[in-house]
Symmetry: C2
């Protein structure tokens, strides 16, 4: 039950369209309000104090005061500018990144020191080697679980969803920020094969949100939704940029993984902030005397005059293709592990009880296998991720061949040399072991990314190919007078870019490696390998982030595939739902009730009349629910009762007046409900919808619902101060509702039913409802391709299909998704038999879903009666939150 409600909580999302609407749920709204009030009372007074005090002191230095005030006003006006915000964001993120790197390095140093200090006893050494990461990971998992479970995992899938316009709850709060930063530091400090770039995207986004909330105390420009989305996009770039000190690659990578359509006008924001952040990040390293000047993070020193031979290109292409298959396999493996853990109910139940057991167990296995005196000696187990990369990008050739015989393994390079085996074996073991370890480790519920582990595996694979090439052609391929030996380090760079590109489905990993290594001489091999890897991986599997989005059941829109010619032929009329429920302008409340019972659509079309079917706008389900519940509300009943009582008996005034007092108190005490009934104009600008307060099924069991919501509110764990305020408010409201209902419930249930039946027969008054007057419309002949473009451009989740003003159908994200995925499988599998099974898992479910859809559609065709879509229908995606 606990896990289910948790999953549901994670699934609760809300769609904000780009135009005309803005919705926010009550919880966040109340909390924001509380926080704002609190800050206005407390902190905000502090910066104001000097000027205010000046007002009351003697007016001696009046010019000074004026000057100071003007300066202050100037500064405040500047605070509102984008670049100030971006500089602050870059600065904060650089500091966070640097501090985290420092903490992680210290943690790793501590482990090394412990391991080194205990070299007299292997058992003790083993205990230290294994216990240390286990403790750190367990702490990280526990800490995140307790403080903010949203901090688990990479964060890029969630950011992609948020940038699509979906509001994910609690994903950008201070609590999550703290949980993510501390959890990530511990997780990476353990030395597990985990990465930091995904979490950094998330951290930067949270940082931007918090910063803009903080700065909004000085100016009012930070409250705009569109602007916040722009800033979040820039923050994602900063996240990657300051993680790798790669501003350009950071911007491109963040665009590729989070956006489907990118506004070029936001481009400079990302570059500006990421550059500043990367600059500060590297300057901190210089000031800390780690570096002499600003250079790349993993600087390479390949020769410039002849970086590679033209004849080496086939080898690079092979790396690319192999990385493509490897990347797809990694995504597949990662998903299978997650699915396996979920499906095995016995394991699952056991692990659910002992939540921290799974992380501890995985860490134990992995650290046991990497124990240097044990199996770790065959896979360079004692090297940290950073050391591994430095050695893999090394300039020299490791394979002892020909003239290289005198080459000695020096320093950390020694880890790769095993006296009883050769470099090739070490590399192969390393690749194989790290592959499944990384896929497994990234499923641990701690804040972690998969980019860096994959990058290291790719580098090792590249190195393997490079060493093989060097062994095969000891004097290089070039037949001219000059001998240009093969540089295996260059192959490692190519491999790293290719494999990470394949896993994330991005091309910009190429730019990231150039910025990481500080050399761009291998640009063509890297580009060729990355593109080939992408081509292979994209045709086999979704990207790692899309895979996680699907696992987490976040709303998504699949990309159109490579060869999507048939998309031009599918039209909206082929995929649209024809039989949709609608609200007419002259309907009765009973019709509203029926519509609410018969469909689960989040947005209902409003048509002129059932005959003309001219689409006037769309109305949200919650709005319809609010209309219904306000019509059937106990307050109105009490009012009716009171009026009746007044007309019947003029003497009994005391009792109804008390009720009336209470009911007014209620409506003034509720911040959200009266707003729902405001007239159209302000409602369009910003209306907080309150799912918990407006039961969508507008039946008469208000007491039950009110009590239920009260219970839910009680079940919330550990309200913070801000939450507490909101909670107190909500509680007060609910109690008064209950009170009032008890007072008003002097009618018998039969009387109530009769009254309600009367009410339901009245015509609906839409004047108080919030209507979206311009829902997006498509034509029957719009192609699937164009529909996809429009949906992803505008972040839509549904569109109505009209034919010269008349409503003829509707397309939602779900239909579109099924049309795309259905046609992908309908098209048949390409000539890829050995790995065709990769698709089967998705294909089979998709087909089943399509069949279900068809059945549903047929059912809708035949039964026009309401109340047939019972509970547990497959409209889950459209389920309004709060149900």
């Amino acid at each position: 039950m606990a896990s289910e409600s948790e999953a549901q909580r994670a699934l609760q999302y809300e769609q904000t369209l780009m135009y005309g609407r803005y919705t926010q749920d009550l919880g966040t709204f109340a909390k924001d309000e509380a926080a704002r009030l609190r800050l206005q009372e407390g902190d905000a007074a502090v910066p104001r104090r000097p000027s205010e005090l000046l007002e009351y002191t003697q007016g001696r230095c009046a010019p000074c005061r004026v000057c100071a005030l003007q300066c202050q006003r100037f500064l405040i006006s500047k605070v509102g500018e984008d670049w100030v915000f971006l500089i602050l964001l870059g600065l904060v993120m650089a500091l966070v990144s640097w501090a985290m790197d420092f903490a992680i390095a210290t943690c790793l140093q501590a482990q090394k020191w412990m391991y080194g200090g205990l070299d007299t006893n292997v058992l003790l050494q083993y205990m230290a080697w294994v216990t240390y990461p286990t403790v750190l990971i367990t702490f990280s998992a526990g800490f995140t679980q307790i403080l903010a479970p949203q901090a688990v995992g990479s964060g890029i899938p969630e950011m992609k969803t948020i940038l699509r316009g979906v509001v994910l709850k609690e994903y950008l709060t201070f609590k999550t920020f703290v949980a993510k930063v501390i959890g990530l530091t511990c997780a990476l400090g353990s030395g597990m094969p985990l990465g930091k770039e995904g979490p950094f995207v998330h951290i930067a986004s949270m940082c931007a949100t918090l910063l803009s909330r903080f700065l909004s105390l000085f100016g009012g420009f930070y409250e705009n939704e569109a602007r916040n989305i722009e800033m979040l996009a820039a923050a994602c770039a900063v996240g990657v940029g300051c993680c790798f000190a790669a501003p350009i690659g950071g911007v491109l990578f963040s665009i590729e993984v989070t956006s489907t359509f990118f506004a070029v006008r936001n481009y400079w924001r990302g570059f500006f902030a990421a550059t500043f952040s990367a600059f500060i990040f590297r300057v901190l390293a210089v000031w800390n005397k780690d570096e002499e000047t600003i250079t790349a993070l993993f600087k390479t020193r390949f020769r410039l005059d002849f970086p590679f031979d033209l004849q080496e290109l086939p080898a690079f292409a092979v790396i690319g293709i192999a990385s493509g298959f490897g990347g797809a396999l990694f995504v597949y493996l990662n998903r299978k592990i997650v699915q396996f853990m979920r499906r095995q109910k016995t394991i699952n139940r056991f692990l659910m009880k002992k939540r921290l057991l799974f992380p501890a167990l995985v860490t134990l296995i992995i650290s046991t296998l990497t124990f240097p005196p044990g199996f770790g000696q065959f896979m360079a187990g004692q090297l940290t991720q950073k050391d591994t990369l430095v050695t893999l990008f090394d300039n020299q050739t490791w394979a002892k061949q020909g003239i290289n015989d005198e080459f000695e393994y020096l320093g950390i390079l020694e880890a790769w040399l095993h006296p009883r085996s050769n470099v090739f074996v070490t590399l192969v073991v390393f690749i194989l072991m790290k592959f499944w370890m990384s896929a497994l480790a990234t499923t641990i519920p701690v804040p972690c990314g998969a980019f860096m582990p994959v990058f290291v595996i790719g580098a090792a694979f590249g190195r393997l190919v490079g060493e093989s090439m060097a062994a095969w052609f000891p004097d290089g391929i070039h037949t001219d007078s000059n001998i240009y030996r093969i540089v295996p380090g260059g192959y490692a760079v190519v491999g790293a870019a290719a494999l990470s590109g394949a896993v994330t489905h991005t091309v910009s990993t190429a730019v990231i490696v150039f910025e990481l290594t500080g050399q761009i001489s291998h640009i063509l091999p890297v580009m060729i390998a990355v593109i080939l890897a992408n081509a292979v991986a994209q045709s086999l599997q979704p990207s790692l982030y899309d895979s996680i989005i699907r696992i987490k059941k976040l709303p998504y829109l699949p990309e159109l595939g490579w060869g999507h010619h048939e998309k031009y032929n599918v039209q909206v009329e082929d995929i649209m739902v024809r039989d949709i429920r609608y609200v007419t302008l002259n309907c009765k409340y009973r019709d509203l009730q029926q519509v609410l019972h018969s469909t689960k659509m989040k947005n209902l079309p409003l048509v002129e009349s059932a005959e003309s079917m001219i689409l006037l706008g769309s109305i949200e389900r919650t709005q319809v629910g609010a209309l219904l519940s306000s019509q059937l509300s106990p307050q109105r009943r009490v009012m009716t009762l009171r009026q009746k009582a007044l007309s019947e008996d003029g003497h009994r005034l005391s009792d109804p007046s008390i009720r009336f007092q209470i009911s007014t108190e209620t409506s003034s005490g509720t911040p959200a409900r009266p707003a729902l009934r405001k007239p159209l104009k302000p409602a369009l600008k910003r209306v907080p919808s309150s799912p918990a307060d407006s039961p969508p099924a507008g039946s008469a069991d208000h007491a039950g619902i009110a009590l239920k919501s009260l219970f839910c509110a009680n079940a919330a764990t550990e309200p913070t101060e801000a939450q507490g305020t909101a909670y107190q408010k909500a509680k007060r409201v609910r109690i008064s509702i209950v009170e009032e209902m008890i007072l008003g419930d002097k009618m018998t249930p039969a009387e109530i039913l009769e009254w309600e039946e009367q009410q339901l027969d009245q015509l609906v008054d839409f004047s108080s409802a919030k209507i979206d007057p311009a829902p997006f419309q498509l034509v029957e002949h719009t192609s699937l391709h164009k529909t996809h473009t429009i949906f992803s451009l505008l972040g839509l989740d549904h569109a109505f299909v009209t034919s010269i003003g008349r409503l003829v159908g509707m397309v939602s994200l779900k239909e579109l998704r099924k049309a795309i995925e259905g046609s992908l499988t309908g098209k048949g599998v390409k000539v890829r038999p050995p790995l065709a099974s990769f698709r089967d898992s998705t294909a089979s479910t998709t087909e089943a879903d399509t069949t279900a859809l068809r059945q549903l559609w047929d059912r809708h065709q035949h039964h026009h009666m309401p109340r047939e879509a019972g509970p547990g229908g497959d409209d889950d995606d459209n389920t309004p939150k709060g149900q």
Copy 2:
């Protein structure tokens, strides 16, 4: 007159929306059809012949035949795939780029050889030095003028407009391709300060269009509009990519200069094609033995271990800021030169007569000034653009200071050393002279870009700063034990990126320099300088390409500025046009006529009735015109006459039957006109609209219009074979119309008028009109910011404003443009007095425009009568083509 009609021709454009519509003008359509028919008859039969022949030969090798057929089918199916197209595009463009580079190098070599061979006589030398480029530029200008005037200039502004969804005529044809390639080769071969990257974007786009037209002979996938836009976006990337051998920079640069919103799913296309193209381009150089292996175009050899000191960063920042001002000045200067040339009527009239005089004159002046024994000795006049760059990026320090005294100027570096002056003077003279020369040279009507000249000037400026720094700190700034001298070449790289970034308003020039030089060690200085340069330049002037778009009066949407907070407060209701003309569902033809007379809007809203004002869709102006003209057409008149004649006199059958025959022949001979009257369903998919054939003002002067169009067709110069076919067809049609009208015009003018008045009183039959059933709708409260986003996302040129289904207003690109630019100036100028005058030119015109708009609006408010917007109104942007 000639220039006016030419300007009009250039201005004729058409808007294609992303959804629901596809329009193509008759000329292109007829030509395409003709070309297709011809190819099907001729060329297409050739590849078919083998298999067809096999059918008739003896059936001995049946398996072979089956196999061959299958192979053929497989290949044809593969031809439809995107990647085949992209590879072909990359290959072709690489070959074109390489061949052009080769030709240009040969031209420059020839000039050098001539100049060198004549060193006995300075006068002869001068003659050779000056005549050679003059002849080349004059030839280039004349050739382009005759073959395709659309090939003049950069091409990026036009591509930006085309990618917005606007169809520019003749911009992507084979003729333009030939003109651009040959014109560009000659122009660059002359050694003038001109660039090739802008034209290359255009060439690649034309190449893609031609290639897709060619490949559409094999498969049907190349006829989709959305796909073509995707391919054009990729082609732009290829253009830059193969010009500089910079795939990543090419993709980013093309995105920045051509798109406002970029689809990440098209990203790989650009990377794939650009990488392939750059690869082939460099491989060709290796095969030609120019290079030993694939390396960067302008390879630098800066030291890797200590590329720059942290304390040098202020100098880099200074380069960035100065480049920002310089870039803005360049754009301003370029625009002023164009405007000056246009305004000076006497000069203009003279130059118009002798079109080739201006190019020749400019070339003469510039080549005289660069003559090496003359003034050229102070500005390294004998160096070609490529040599200049190579020397500027040189590793050594030129300023003879301290230990560098023994350094000798070697090879081409000598050009920078003048015995009687020093390097600084040479550099300053070079920068100053090249600055105005480049600004002037890029206004010559030849195919040319401004990127490369600006890049060189930037490099020289950077070098100047670098040499100054090196002279100031001879032993470097670093105070440690190691002496790290300042590398002036690094400053040159930074300066080149900064100035070209400032002129084009792009950040990706940073990536281009890394790819051009093959070194990324200066990433942070380059990024900082580029961002600062962009910040300064963007706040002063539009980018060079936007400036050209405005000069050429192409439709555009200005970007929202940096600090665009006030945009969030302006709403659609503040800027929309409230008093718009509309068409009602139950209107008469007379109403249509009145609407056409009273407005110049390209799209008219169709409402249910004047009372309800419920928006049903939109109808194009040309459609309304077609409805009217078909109602009043001579054919219908003839039919009426014939029917009357039949009823009056049963014996006179012969004469009308001839007329009838002719009229049916006409309607079957016209490919476009019947399509206009097709029912809605196919019309939505692809309807070629024929502006010349459907007179928008549906008055009775058909003979005049028909004769005028006949005259226009005769005035077309040099019809090619394909054109000839179309032309023959059109001529036949027109002649038959005239014939028929002569036959039918037995009615007296009074009778005709009476008949037309009758016709005008009939109710309109919309069944034959093409109605867009889902025009884009906005709400009154949509913010300006969101409106801008939606317009640029969807490439709209207008949107209707509705309030719960009711039409309340309209916003077009023009209103939006004025709202944005108006508020930009309304906001007041920032603290930038010395350069504030830069804005004035645009600001004053904008204010005047706004006033005009307000007047127009007021007029519309007061006079609701039609026919008041007479000829020459200021709705020029909305003028339908063909008027």
